[in-house]
């Protein structure tokens, strides 16, 4: 069988639209993950035993089960339990956001822990209150440890976003399947979106190393 990409031409706008759809839900998921992940990381480093246990349990559950399972549970279980017919988009951003939060919280926690303990002691000795110390002294230094790992998490999330095609969300991946079914040829559309994913991830990776380089040159440490 020979490859024939010409048949794909009428479907190209339909597939390209998938880029917007994918980006729209990936970026919102990242945002949810970032906000919730930051809160969770603060719980993890707090002295409050209850908050700590809660955040650790959360991380354990969301990292310890498959993402596709979490997606299915949210999409199928919510309507069954609450009679609320949850839209596909909402289940997608919820499951990806909640899942990402678990990873982000670990990244931020590790980044904060990596800041020299002497910094905390210096701030405490000066009588700097906890939140000001976090905001002005610890977090600005932790960002350097956090950002590169966070970029990695975003890249992973972008790639893994293809999983939402399983609940019928019309993202890039799903569109490749739809086109494949229409043409009775799967290989070409799959290759086509494969290239699109690769380009998106490469752009993100480049962005990541740019950020990293900026951080290194501004490193006054």
């Amino acid at each position: 069988m020979r490859l024939d990409f010409s048949q794909l031409t009428p479907y190209i706008p339909f597939i390209l639209e998938g880029i917007i759809v994918t980006l729209k839900f990936v970026s919102v998921s990242i945002l949810i993950g970032l906000v919730l992940g930051t809160l969770l990381s603060l719980c993890k480093i707090s002295k409050n035993v209850f908050l700590k246990a809660l955040a650790n349990a959360y991380t354990s559950i969301f990292r310890g089960t498959p993402l596709i399972l979490q997606l299915m549970i949210i999409y199928y279980a919510v309507p069954q339990l609450t009679n609320y017919d949850i839209p596909i988009y909402l289940s997608a951003i919820l499951s990806f956001g909640l899942n990402s939060a678990a990873y982000v919280s670990e990244i931020i926690r590790a980044g904060i822990m990596a800041v020299d303990k002497g910094q905390v002691e210096a701030a405490e000795a000066l009588g700097v209150p906890y939140w000001k110390m976090m905001k002005d002294i610890i977090l600005p230094q932790a960002v350097k440890n956090i950002l590169p790992a966070l970029m990695n998490e975003f890249i992973t999330l972008t790639k893994e976003s293809a999983v939402v095609s399983t609940i019928g969300y019309l993202d890039l991946m799903r569109r490749a399947q739809v086109v494949g079914a229409a043409l009775y040829r799967n290989f070409e559309p799959l290759i086509f979106v494969g290239i699109i994913y690769w380009v998106m991830v490469t752009i993100l990776t480049k962005l990541g190393s740019m950020v990293e380089r900026r951080l290194r040159t501004s490193d006054q440490g």
Partner: protein
């Protein structure tokens, strides 16, 4: 100024301080010396509660800081601390390092804080470095910034935790000179140090700590010429 009553400190099963009691008067300069691992740094760090004593009481100006109800942050504003590893804030300029706490903790205006900061930095001989970042400074310069940072809060007590131990030999003097000047102003100082000549010259009292107890509390001349305990004699014979 500082009263310590029967403090002990355990790290797990390891007893680092054993029932230490002492009093330090206002304006006194105390040099704390002794072998490594004897508990001298732990003792110093208890005085501003960076380490919490396992038992015992500490009073700063008649206020019991070991009482959980005491607002330790309030007390710490009055106790400056200088660390072996400087612990400057690497992402802030020298001037910002010095003015941060006065501005954010004492709520001084930027102008007022910078006025104080510049004055202190000129006193430690670093007027030309105010816009530098810590990693652009030598060890001795960093430590002088750290001293200025602590002084910017206008403390009544200054704690020094081996302030010259991380420095190259040729930089020790510039830091000790700043500390000498400070001692002359009547500042209450507690200094953990290995610089015996400095201790002899500047301190009013020597605490010789060994194995978690203050083995000798003596006048420097007395201590360095006629130490009372065998342990101190042995220690001095090894380092002098």
């Amino acid at each position: 100024m500082i009263k310590v009553e029967n403090i002990s400190k355990m790290f797990g099963k390891n007893t680092v301080l054993k029932n230490i009691s002492t009093t330090i008067q206002s304006g006194e300069v105390v040099a704390v010396i002794g072998p490594s691992g004897s508990g001298k740094s732990t003792f110093l760090r208890c005085l501003n509660l960076l380490e919490k004593p396992t038992s015992g009481k500490i009073y700063i100006k008649d206020q019991e800081i070991t009482n959980p109800k005491t607002d330790i942050m309030e007390i710490r504003k009055k106790i400056g601390m200088v660390f072996q590893q400087f612990n400057l804030f690497p992402h802030m300029t020298v001037l910002d390092n010095v003015t941060y706490a006065p501005r954010k903790v004492n709520q001084l205006s930027k102008e007022k804080a910078e006025e104080i900061g510049k004055h202190l930095l000129s006193k430690v001989g670093l007027s030309d470095k105010i816009d530098s970042y810590p990693n652009q400074l030598s060890g001795g310069q960093k430590q002088r910034v750290a001293i200025a940072r602590a002084l910017a809060m206008e403390p009544e007590i200054m704690l020094f935790d081996e302030p010259t131990s991380a420095l190259d030999p040729e930089m020790v003097k510039e830091v000790l000179d700043v500390m000498k000047d400070l001692a002359k102003t009547g500042m209450t100082m507690v200094i953990v140090t290995h610089e015996m000549n400095f201790a002899k010259e500047v301190a009013d009292r020597i605490f010789f700590i060994d194995d978690g107890v203050i083995l000798e509390d003596a006048d420097p001349r007395e201590f360095f010429t006629e130490p009372k305990t065998e342990r101190a004699k042995d220690f001095l014979s090894k380092i002098l």
